[in-house]
Symmetry: C2
Subunit: 348 residues, 2 copies
C-alpha cells in the first residue's frame, strides 16, 4: 500500500468565516496539501480565493466534487453536511465535519485532539468537530478529570458574534456605528438568523444562542452539555450551561464552576495541572491583574485560563475563566489538528 505524503483536500464552505480560517491555516501550518478544492453553495460559487499565491475558484459542491479527495473539511452548515458528507465518504474521503449534523451520532467520533485523540481510531469516514464553546471547555476539564476527577460543571458563556457567522459580525459593526452616531437601526440577524424575533446586539447581551428546546435550554446549551459528556467519556458528568451572545467580534469566554471527585485539591494543584496541560495556557496572576480576555486571545490557537479560585463554601468547588478564539481552536484549528493527527497516526 502506498503511503501518501501529500493529500487532496476539499473545503466545503470555503467562503465562510471558518472556511477562510481553514484555508489560512492550511498554508501557515504547512499542511501537506497536494491539491486544494474549494466548494460552496451555488451562491458563493465563482468567488476567487488565494492559496499559496495561486488563485483558486470556488466551485458549487456536488457529489462528484469529492472524487479523488482524501480529506474533506466541512463547515457550511448542518444541512450541507447531511447532503454531502456520506457522498464524500463513499468516494473515499475522510470527512472532518464542523457542524452539529453528526456530533451526537454514536458511530461518529467527536474529537478535540488534546482530549480524546484515540477516538479518531474508530472513525467510519466521518469525524465531528465539536461546538466552539464545548471545545475550550473540555480542553480545560480534561486535565482536571485525569488528575482529580470532575463530577459537576456549571458554565455561563460570554460568546462573540463571529460564532453566528459573517452576517452577525457585520450586524455588530453596523449597529455599533449607528448607535454611536445616534441613528436608529433594525436588528435582522441575531440572536438567530432565521428566527421570528431579533434583538439589538450592539451594546447589549442576548441570553439566547441557537433555538430553544422543549426543556427551556437552547440548542447551544444542550450542545455544550451533551458534547462534553461524549468527549470526556462520562455520561454521568453533571453539566449545566447558560449561553449568552455579547457585543464583541472574536473569542468566547466562559465562567466555569466545577466540583472535583478528589478532596484536598488546592488552587495551586489546579493551576499546576493547567500549566502542564496540552493546548492550555495559564494566565493567572491577580497581583499583576493577569487574566485572559477575548481581545487578548484573538488569532491564538491555545485555550487560555485565568481567575482560578477555590469556592468559599464547597471544599471540592473551583471557579475559573476560560477564553479561546472561537474561529481557531473553536473551529478551524481543531479541524486541522484532527486532520494532522489522522495523518500522523496513519488513521486516515
Amino acid at each position: 500500500m502506498d503511503v501518501k505524503t501529500k493529500y487532496n483536500v476539499a473545503i466545503v464552505g470555503a467562503t465562510g468565516a471558518v472556511g477562510q480560517k481553514i484555508i489560512e491555516l492550511l498554508e501557515v501550518e504547512k499542511f501537506p496539501v497536494d491539491t486544494l478544492k474549494l466548494l460552496s453553495s451555488e451562491r458563493s460559487a465563482g468567488k476567487k480565493v488565494l492559496f499559496r499565491n495561486t488563485e483558486l475558484v470556488v466551485e458549487r459542491a456536488t457529489p462528484e466534487s469529492f472524487n479523488n479527495v482524501d480529506i474533506a473539511l466541512f463547515s457550511a452548515g448542518g444541512s450541507v453536511s447531511k447532503q454531502f458528507a456520506h457522498e464524500a465518504v463513499k468516494r473515499g474521503a475522510v470527512v472532518v465535519d464542523n457542524t452539529s449534523a453528526f456530533r451526537m451520532d454514536p458511530s461518529v467520533p467527536l474529537v478535540v485532539p488534546e482530549v480524546n485523540e484515540s477516538d479518531l481510531k474508530w472513525h467510519n469516514g466521518i469525524i465531528a468537530n465539536p461546538n466552539c464553546s464545548t471545545i475550550q471547555l473540555v480542553a480545560a476539564l480534561k486535565p482536571l478529570q485525569q488528575k482529580f476527577g470532575v463530577k459537576r460543571v456549571i458554565v455561563s458563556t460570554y460568546q462573540s458574534v463571529s460564532g453566528a457567522g459573517t452576517s452577525a459580525v457585520q450586524e455588530l459593526e453596523d449597529q455599533s456605528k449607528a448607535v454611536l452616531e445616534g441613528k436608529e437601526t433594525t436588528p435582522e440577524i441575531l440572536p438567530v438568523k432565521n428566527g421570528a424575533k431579533h434583538y439589538p446586539i450592539a451594546f447589549n447581551a442576548l441570553p439566547q444562542i441557537d433555538v430553544f428546546q422543549d426543556n427551556g435550554f437552547t440548542f447551544e446549551e444542550m450542545k455544550m452539555i451533551n458534547e462534553s459528556k461524549k468527549i470526556l467519556h462520562d455520561l454521568d458528568l453533571s453539566v449545566a450551561a447558560t449561553c449568552v451572545r455579547l457585543p464583541f467580534f472574536t473569542s468566547h469566554a466562559e465562567s466555569v464552576y466545577i466540583e472535583t471527585e478528589g478532596t484536598n485539591v488546592t488552587v495551586d494543584d489546579v493551576q499546576k495541572t493547567f500549566q502542564h496541560a496540552e493546548g492550555v495556557v495559564l494566565e493567572d496572576d491577580p497581583a499583576t491583574q493577569t487574566y485572559p480576555t477575548p481581545v487578548s486571545a484573538v488569532n491564538k490557537k491555545e485555550v487560555f485560563i485565568g481567575r482560578v479560585r477555590k469556592d468559599l463554601d464547597v471544599p471540592t468547588g473551583f471557579h475559573f475563566w476560560i477564553v479561546s478564539d472561537n474561529l481557531l481552536k473553536g473551529a478551524a484549528w481543531n479541524s486541522i489538528q484532527i486532520a494532522q493527527r489522522l495523518i500522523e497516526n496513519k488513521w486516515l
Copy 2:
C-alpha cells in the same frame, strides 16, 4: 412632635452618574422635597443643575453643609462617605449611603426595600444601599427564599460600564468609535480607574471588577457574596460570584444557579413566585423568544427575570437570568425607595 410633610434633602456626589439619576427621580417621583442642597468634591463645585425648573449651584461639601438637612443621599465614593456621613448624622440628618463604606458595619442596616424593609427600623442614622449587582440578585432570591428556601447560589455577572462611573462610559464610547475607525487607543480607566494595568473594554470582556482580594475573588465578587448573606439574614447561605465587565452602557445582567431547600419545586412554581414578587417582572417565554436584555431594562425601575429552567441533574437546582438598570434599581431608585419607606413608616 411636629410631623413634617416636606424634607430638606442633600445629595452628595450630585454631578456623578448616580447623583444625576437621584435628582431626576426626586423630581419625577414627586419626592416631598422642601429644599435641595447639591454637594460634591471641590472639583465639581460651582456646576449648575436644574431641579424643578430652578438652577441649583453645586457646593463643596463641608461638615456644616449638613446643618438643617433631614435626608442626605451619598454617592460620591467610600472615602467621602467616611469623611462626612457621621458629620451629617451628628447634625440630625439620616444618611442613605450608596457606597461600600458602611455596608458590612453590623450597626448599619443594608436595605433593599422589597427584601428587608424592616431592617430600616433599627438604623442609627446611616442606612447603606447595597452594591448594584447585589440588589438585583437579592430581589430575585428573596421570594424564592420565602417560598422554598434557598441554600446555594452561583452567579456570573454581565455588568455595564456605567457601574464604573461616567469616565468609564466615556471610555467605552471613545474606544468603540476608535476601533470601528481602525484607530489605536490606549485604555486608561477600566477595569479599575486607579489600577496599575488597563485593558480595552470596547468589543471585549474583562473578568475583573474592583480590586483583587487575598482569596482570589475581586472586591465586587465579595460584595455580592457578603452583602447577599446580610440582606437575606442567612449567614449560612452558600454564595459564589464571578463578576465580568462588558461593553454596554447601562444595566447589569446575571446568570444565576440556585438550589432550593424544598424538593419537588417546578419551573412553574418558580415562575409564579417571581410573578407575584414585589419589584420583579417575569419576562420568560422561550416560544416567543421573550427574555430581558440590558437594553430592554434601561430606564426601568424593576428587576426583570427570564430563562427560568430546571437543572438537568440536580432536582432542587434552577437556572435563570436577571437584568436591571444598575443606575436605577441598582443605585438611585433603591436609595429613593429607602428614603420613601423611612418617611412612610415614620422611621426617619
